[in-house]
Amino acid sequence: MKGRNNELVFYCAPFFVQPNPYEIISINTQKPLTYCRFAVILFPLMRIAREHSPLPGFRLTLGYSVFYLSLIVLIPLGAAFLKTAGMTWGAFVEAVASPRVMASYRLTFGASLIAAVINSVFGLVVAWVLVRYRFPFKRVIDAFVDLPFALPTAVAGIALAAIYSKNGWIGHYLEMVGIKAAFSRLGVVIALTFIGLPFVVRTVQPVLEALEPELEEAAASLGANRWQTFRRVLLPPLYPSLLTGFALAFARALGEYGSVVFISGNMPMRTEITPLLIITKLEQYDYNGATAIAVVMLVFSFALLLGINLLQKWSLKEWSA
């Protein structure tokens, strides 16, 4: 057991001794010790875990994972927060709460919310139909639900813009009844509905598949009709997954850019979404303004991610109970 402490030093060494890449960070951030502290906390813990398993490679894989995660995700994200830390409070508020920015929040959150609601309703119906009924080309249609995950957003954007513009396949019918779809707020909702479409279907579907038929048989034998059975027996177990799917679709829509910019028209105060505003500020070399808005969005997204995680834990617990 003599060698154990040496091993600890060895595995910590990259974090203490080698100059790059952390030195670079430390020069610029004035927080040289953050990552070393992280290492000091983490690596003794890794020794504890090692003794529980005869499988090799724990230190190597965890060390590499944490290193790569820091390099690609944590440090760059940290940079955004650091940048805003350099702003005065007044400048920050000015940047994140000007009328044009507020209008973009209203549009982004509002349209995302509407799109997520549309997807919850229709997503539930689609999941139900895919799990319960048999009809031609069902497998193909099932596979197609994931299209928004696979189709590049720019492609989706120009396609939707083409269809819903006033000469488009659908746009010109809407035009006839006086509805302007492309280059309006409705266009934003359409794009965000497309982008969030798979989430509710894919979270509800497995839960619906796992529901035992005995539940319905029991309900029927107790005298419930189909609607009562659906409302009181089948729907309640779906709530957690429905809510999770809703939150995922909402979160995805908030940050969406590619599919929206082609169809929205990008008019300030009217059809300008927040991600677009960030790019606009960046193009005007207003780095502080762009970063401040980004930080507001990030904080909201992380809160949402945390909420979704808790939601999934809760639904898992509900489910296994």
Binding site: M1, E51, P54, P56
Partner: protein
Amino acid sequence: MIEAQNITKRFGEFKALNNVSLSVKSGELLALLGPSGSGKTTLLRIIAGLEFPDRGAGRVLFNGEDVTYNPAASRQVGFAFQHYALFRHMTVFENVAFGLRVRPAATRPLETEIRRRVIELLSLVQLDNMDKRFPTQLSGGQRQRVALARALAVQPKVLLLDEPFGALDAKVRKELRRWLRQLHKEIHITSIFVTHDQDEALEVASRVVVMNKGAIEQIGTPEEVYDRPANPFVYNFLGSVNLFHGRVHGGQVHLGNTSLPAPEHPEAQDAPAMIYVRPHEIHVANQSNGQQSLPALIRDVNPAGPLVHIELERLDDGAKFAVELTREQSRNVQLTPGSQVFVELKNLRVFSEDYSI
């Protein structure tokens, strides 16, 4: 010779093994028997190198060499897992050949030699011509035999089996038990198997280690642990047993109005005692046999099967107990539910009450 010395192992707060020592003789077939949570599987895994004792708390020796912290790969143990852990993406042949193929080039046998050894092993476990199948195409018993062949392929110093028959149905389990005992007779490899099934331990093993709550309660041959259990736990765990409460005084145990010899407690002074008697070691008669007979009432008789199961109730304190008679014995007694009989305890073990289970 495999030794485990003073092994302690904690999982968080839970003490899975508490200062356990065990030595396994070369060539024997040892059973680790105990209820779940007794630490038997943990001990087996520590011997295999799949688990390690707490720091500084115990050693594992293989033929005198300390291997406590050696990785499993270097120990040359054959381990058969409860759920077989066959490699699902490999054929039966490749599963058995795995241990040979992963050897360093210098000690790896030639392909023809590997082939010969695998075919030989498959024949030993009676799975000739199954080599091209995948594990999913085999029955549970066949999978377990593939797992054994795979473990044997590396010519292990010791064969370790974790609940080898646990996942099989009753009939296959019986066949496989007999087969394992036969196999051990043929190849004489030092083997340790874990089981919670006392019948299995008593039938298959040459020596039985009874474990409970992370400690060893008794080690002995199947006859020893069954006929002379060291304590109430072993008595209870090995087969069904009746418990009577009485008093022990100067080498005599008093049970109601009867008194019986208890030579193992000559010094006891009117101490409370627990008397253990196995159901088949109780004699039943219609007439009293004097001092040693206990009057009882027949509550129920079930004559189905090779043994006649009788449920009785003591006349003096109403305590219920069970008796098993062979059909032969039952012919000599009148067994009418509700009628009175006299019982004689043939082979009893007396423990003073302060011994807690």
